[in-house]
Symmetry: C2
Subunit: 204 residues, 2 copies
DNA sequence: AGGGTTATTTACCGACTAGTACAAATATCT
DNA sequence: AGATATTTGTACTAGTCGGTAAATAACCCT
């Protein structure tokens, strides 16, 4: 009895690469949102038939959730790396600059799928809407925890409000996602990042 | 031959109030987005049947556009009144505080329908998506024009970049819409507004 | 009262939705 | 080669989508 029995090479082999198919699905969800994406959109973009999609990913909802996981685990992701910068200011700086670069990048849909994937949506999308909402809130909680650590480290003044700083930064990052959808360029978003940083307390 | 023949009181009278029906439609679109809203959702909320909806509003797309017009013409709307404040700083202040109050108001869906009504959507929603995008961009252009006037008035330094100031403010306002969807309260948004204003140049 | 006009109700349309049953195809294991 | 396991393509389901045809109801005007 193998502990990884599901990886045993038996039966007809899958004719498509499951990771690139998921990439394609992510791109469609990103552009059209959960409600705006049909299974035909997905199968066409992924280059597979519906039974293959259901066998590999469960259903539309599970496929979406897996696509979001892929989105956040990408090498080009900027959020988690920025959190590890040595000072609070540098965290904010790298996060804002990373967002400016990433969200307007023409190599993929503009904005952020966590923001725009299921913002206002049907009841059928309630689960994925909540999943995205939780991700946004958790992101801000991570920022807040990082800024509280910064106060202990002394690179934020003791008077600083970590929660408000995190919410301010989250607000600008989420606003940048809308801006990117509006057609803003990375350079324009970088200017917004600079302005945002002017309100950010430096070492104290 | 009357120039206002359509207002002549002839034929069976409409059994519903067209303005309150449009209010109801707006609320549904606001909560569920264009793609996420079905005609059944609309007719149920509006308390009318489909033929009445089509006779009064055209179709789903035209109903949405009329709902957006209503949204922007509301007495509680904060955008245009804020533009008329005497200085650039006061414009920004009133706009941010108005947004903080309005977007988290529990009397209606949270956020802003112009932001979340059709952000990522199907091809069927392309027209309304573009209409909303144009409204967002036009709002920022109005802000920019107001700030350029402020430079002439001398309540913004000549070195200020009106375009970037407008985009920064637009970014925060749009971000606030997401925050309100995340469950942020008016008080929390007001704190974000205060931080935002710290980066805003005062009289110079 | 009767004609003209408009709104309402009911029932329907074809197209599309997410999801699946089933049989043929393709691999490994014995 | 044959048995077993899995994926594939085709064809289908029941339900919902946006939108409408047609008959009836309710009003004004003469």
């Amino acid at each position: 009895m193998s502990a990884v029995s599901s990886t045993v090479n038996v039966g007809r082999p899958r004719a498509f690469d499951i990771d690139t198919a998921l990439e394609k699905a992510l791109e469609v969800f990103w552009r059209k949102g959960y409600d705006g994406t049909s299974l035909s959109d997905l199968t066409e973009a992924m280059g597979i038939n519906k039974p293959s999609l259901y066998a590999a990913f469960g259903n539309k909802e599970q496929l979406f959730l897996k696509a979001i996981e892929l989105y956040e685990s990408r090498p080009c992701s900027f959020f988690l790396p920025a959190l590890e910068k040595p000072t609070a200011y540098q965290v904010a700086e790298h996060m804002l600059h990373g967002a400016a670069m990433n969200m307007a990048d023409q190599a993929h849909p503009q904005g952020c799928v966590v923001v725009q994937g299921a913002l206002s949506c049907s009841e059928a999308a309630a689960t994925v809407k909540e999943a995205l909402l939780n991700r946004r809130v958790e992101g801000e909680q991570k920022l807040r925890a990082r800024f509280e650590q910064a106060k202990l480290d002394g690179d934020l003044p003791a008077s600083a409000d970590a929660e408000t700083l995190a919410r301010y930064l989250g607000t600008v990052l989420q606003g940048m996602a809308i801006q990117a959808n509006n057609g803003a360029t990375s350079e324009q978003l970088r200017q917004v990042a600079e302005m945002t940083l002017q309100a950010f307390p430096r070492a104290g």
